[in-house]
């Protein structure tokens, strides 16, 4: 309770919570803020049905009914911004929690066993660290590749689709668990020698109980900080992948990709067509800042003895 009070007495932490709560509220209220055409099955994009003489390729400025105008191709910026929040939160939480679970489990079990097994695990972890995540996306695209036009899918594809997995998600999960292993491993290797663990073992505590009850709770704080940071950075990565065309699924990234020619193309102007990039960019940046600040606050709250390493 006291530590909670202390946590909320830091202004950056309050700011972080405010930003995150705002995003969550927007995500919850999405159907009210931006009513979808099909409430049962809301699409992340809406094509504005304004009838103007201008070409479809010229972005429409903000006007009544279109608070933030459209991108080229008449995509409603405000609508995508709102529904993109939902998708961003879902993606960030799924990927960060899944990677954390994988990493913590591997790290804890292998550190608990120790010896050559642990050395082997750490060697594999180091090998994974050399892999640039981006390179995995196209590989997983193959896994989800539709067999033929009649859309017969393999059981694996069925499973992955029903879990809501897309190739970028799978890549990020498979290739970013390594920091968790390293963190948890180092902590548990230290804790194993501490007297209370030895005591628990001597009175006959089982392996699972030792790991879950005595080791993990004390080894997990740095991993929790990393989860906070990852939620933001995974969403930003997804947007970057979508923008450069190695992935899909980030509505925010897609908006920027569609608007690209009006940001850096021949007739682009950062001032004239600000609505094409500015709202989405700010949404992305503040999403990252919110989770980063939160992770920072958690870091000083959970690891008080670690050197003071505030972001700001």
């Amino acid at each position: 309770m006291k530590s909670l009070l202390r946590f909320f007495s830091h202004i950056p932490n309050l700011l972080a919570m405010a930003i995150i709560v705002l995003y969550v509220l927007v995500a919850i209220a999405a159907p009210r803020l931006a009513p979808p055409q099909d409430p049962e099955n809301p699409a992340p994009f809406k094509v504005a049905t304004v009838d103007t003489a201008t070409s479809r390729h010229i972005p429409l400025p903000p006007q009544s009914g279109l608070p933030l105008g459209t991108t080229p191709g008449r995509l409603d910026v405000f609508y995508t911004l709102i529904w993109g929040t939902r998708s961003a939160l879902r993606f960030g939480l799924t990927v960060a929690l899944a990677t954390a679970c994988v990493g913590i489990a591997i790290g804890a079990v292998s550190a608990y066993i120790g010896g050559p097994v642990n050395r082997f695990t750490l060697r594999i972890t180091d090998a994974f660290l050399t892999f640039p995540v981006l390179a995995g996306a196209a590989m997983f695209r193959l896994v989800l590749y539709p067999v033929d036009q009649q859309a017969s899918i393999t059981p694996l594809q069925g499973l992955l689709t029903s879990l809501g997995m897309d190739p970028v998600m799978l890549t990020l999960i498979l290739f970013s668990w390594m920091p968790y292993v390293r963190i948890v491993n180092a902590e548990i290797a230290k804790l194993k020698q501490v007297a209370y663990v030895q005591a628990a073992r001597s009175i006959g505590a089982g392996h699972l109980r030792l790991i879950l009850r005595h080791l993990l709770p004390n080894a997990i704080s740095s991993a929790i900080v990393l989860v906070g940071r990852d939620i933001g950075s995974m969403v930003i990565l997804q947007a970057a992948f979508t923008f450069i065309g190695v992935g899909e699924g980030s509505p925010w990234g897609y908006l920027l990709a569609v608007g690209r020619d009006w940001i850096i193309g021949p007739s682009a102007s950062l001032v004239q067509y600000w609505w094409v990039y500015l709202p989405v960019t700010l949404a992305l940046i503040f999403f990252g800042i919110g989770w980063n600040l939160l992770a920072d606050g958690l870091n000083s709250a959970l690891n008080p003895r670690k050197p003071h390493q505030r972001l700001w």
């Binding site: 994974f128 892999f131 995995g136 996306a137 196209a138 065309g245 940001i263 050197p307 700001w312």
Partner: protein, 353 residues
């Protein structure tokens, strides 16, 4: 054997293990793909077949695509070692050739970004850490915060919007079109493949300068986030070093402050920073790919976008994935070596690393 040599050999021995792990995982992913997609890993060289179904059956039989995983993996890995990385129907080229041709551009971008970010990151971390609480420190922390908050691809877009569309200072791409004719002409000697250096070697200063102009924005975009991280780690380290006794002793003996900072404190403070940069070498290379695409820089990332856009081209996707690890490894190796040179514990073989 000197400890340093031992260190280098141990690092080099880790390379085959790393490659083994990565290829086993990648081929494992290919094995999960439906066989229709998997066939594209063994596409025959040359044109399209008039009868794709028959070709597919032929490939499945010829390359034993229904064999158990270890057999298939071993067969495929053997081909890989012989330099046969498969044929990409998309690029209409050998995957390995396509990658090698595009490598210099990627290497050039990585090289200049690293040369920019490592010294700057270390220096700014030291300056900020030595003067905590002063305006320099606040300035550094503010810029570092902004640097890590802006996603690189967004930063790249903004820089292009301002400095290319608005001011016409720095264009995208690798070289101006007029100069690209010079570069592709047979008279131009490609010694290193890096245009900035080859321009000088060919006595064409203008080519070098032009290539530099094209490198400015991508290098800044790429460096900013990693610079900020490196600077922060160094700052924390120098704050810790500052209070140690050897610093007080050196100052007490009358050594000038600047000498103490840059000759003694920095040496110890740069180790954690270099270590974290080496560990994030993969994310640096990934940043290179993203920046290449944003700036239209013709590096190897082209294979990533193409193999995503036109599936199935397993050979291109797989080739790109393996090759990008081959780019990360040397970068990591160099940063590790620098760290080892600086760190007396590794240099003298005291630490059990």
């Amino acid at each position: 054997m000197s400890p340093m040599l031992k260190f280098i050999i141990r690092r080099l021995l880790a390379v085959p293990i790393t490659l083994l792990v990565i290829t086993v995982v990648l081929y494992g992913i290919v094995m999960l793909a439906p066989i229709e997609a998997r066939v594209s890993l063994y596409e025959p060289r040359g044109g399209r077949s008039r009868n794709p179904e028959a070709l597919r059956q032929y490939i499945i039989r010829e390359y034993g695509l229904n064999d158990p995983y270890p057999v298939q993996y071993a067969r495929w890995a053997f081909r890989l070692l012989q330099g046969d990385w498969g044929w990409s129907p998309l690029l209409r080229a050998d995957v390995l050739d396509a990658l090698v041709v595009r490598t210099p551009a990627t290497v050039e971008l990585t090289l200049y970004s690293t040369l920019l970010l490592v010294p700057l990151g270390l220096a700014s971390g030291v300056v900020a850490g030595w003067r905590t609480g002063r305006s320099v420190d606040y300035g550094f922390r503010l810029i570092a915060f902004i640097g890590t908050s802006i996603p690189p691809f967004v930063l790249g877009l903004m820089l292009l919007g301002i400095f290319y569309v608005g001011l016409h200072w720095f264009p995208p791409g690798r070289i101006d079109i007029s100069d690209s004719f010079v570069v592709t002409s047979p008279a131009f000697n490609h010694v290193t493949g890096l245009l900035t250096i080859d321009g000088l070697l060919n006595g064409r200063l203008d080519i070098s300068l032009n290539a530099f102009r094209h490198l400015v924005l991508p290098a800044i975009t790429l460096s900013l986030a990693h610079w900020a991280t490196l600077g922060r780690v160094t700052r924390t380290a120098i704050i810790e070093e500052r209070t140690k006794e050897y610093i007080t002793a050196a100052r007490g003996r009358g050594l000038p402050k600047q000498a103490v900072i840059w000759r003694h404190a920095l040496r110890n403070a740069m180790i954690p920073g270099l270590n974290s940069t080496a560990l994030s070498a993969a994310s640096l290379i990934m940043g290179v790919f993203v920046v290449e695409i944003v700036f239209g820089f013709p590096g190897i990332s082209e294979l990533a976008t193409l193999s995503w856009a036109y599936t199935p081209d397993a050979a291109a996707a797989m080739g790109f994935a393996i090759y990008s690890v081959l780019l990360v490894l040397p970068l990591m190796f160099i940063l590790d070596i620098i760290q080892a040179i600086v760190d007396p514990r590794i240099r003298e073989g005291i630490a059990e690393q």
